[in-house]
Assembly symmetry: C2
Homo-oligomer: 196 residues x 2
């Protein structure tokens, strides 16, 4: 194994697990760095890339699906462009050497490689709701509603680009409930597996 991809439910601590694993193994970590690179190559703002690189738009999911499935008269849409550049950046990062890549369907983008350990981190809604309020503060929306919206948007994005159902255990080599197992222990299990 050379590369670890980490997919995660919003608020599950998957990003923290990824950082811990990368530090423990002494390999590179890609999350914001990947967003920066895609932003630089496409000219979009980082916040736009971050949102559109793994989420269906907030409003009107049906029209999003219809638009993405149809042919736009002006050629490539912003979403298509971000997907294409992001895919290329992930493929190049993987070529450069051992690393951890968080999110952005990296598990699917790198599916032809046989040196990836694909991880999924999830947790119960209560645990995640408590965590996002602690980390990001309150917002107008109730925390559980925020989670559900984000989960739906990630699932739709994943389904559209990969044809797979998001969260199916069969898409990953290991899936862990960080709420029950603990974020630190999740990191230890993954690092240990990578070393084997």
């Amino acid at each position: 194994m050379r590369i670890i991809t980490i997919s995660r439910e919003f608020g599950s601590g998957g990003r923290t697990v990824g950082k811990q694993v990368a530090e423990s193994l002494g390999i590179r970590y890609y999350d914001k760095e990947l967003v920066k690179e895609v932003a630089a190559q496409t000219g979009f703002q980082e916040s736009f890339v971050e949102e559109h690189g793994e989420h269906a738009p907030a409003k009107n999911w049906l029209s999003y699906v219809l638009a993405l499935n149809g042919q736009s008269s002006s050629g490539m849409s912003a979403n298509d462009l971000i997907w294409a550049v992001q895919r290329q950046v992930i493929l190049e990062i993987a070529e450069e050497g051992p690393c951890v890549i968080v999110g952005r369907c990296a598990d699917y983008v790198l599916r032809e490689r046989d040196d990836c350990l694909n991880v999924f981190i999830h947790a119960d809604k209560d645990v995640r709701a408590e965590r996002i309020v602690r980390l990001y503060g309150m917002s107008d929306k109730a925390p559980v509603k925020r989670l559900e919206d984000k989960d739906k948007k990630r699932a739709l994005f994943y389904k559209h680009h990969t044809g797979r159902d998001w969260g199916m255990a069969q898409n990953y080599h290991i899936s862990l409930d960080s709420g029950v197992i603990g974020i630190e222990k999740c990191g230890e299990i993954i690092s240990d597996l990578y070393r084997c």
Copy 2:
């Protein structure tokens, strides 16, 4: 954690993982023993209980769903009876002390307890096909077709009795790909987690 439930795809080696974990931890193991108990209490043959305790019938799944959702004029169907007795046996086993329970929706039956570690073992079809031919020999049906039929029947049974989608990572605390990770290593990870 006192109890480990292991759900598994057919041919993934989940049963072997379960046995190894139970031996390593020195706790009881329930698989055939559970079937025997349900057979004794219902009067059905063990092979009938084994099949109907976690699979929708082979033929005509639609009529199975319709029949189970409808009210039978003669009261409880054979499937309902097996489900009810099996559920009760699982609840009693869990009360008796630490153990490993393989299959039979034990994760769902014991969902009210907070001392269960729920595990899902899966593997790619090629790996499982090779394994079932090695262990159980060839049959008239192609091995991949056998897997797919069995997977479908388990998924339908699980959906019917639990309302959940079978194989979703969120239903389990840990899900492992035994084809990539190896059966023995899966057992080690689970035993280690139980000891924590």
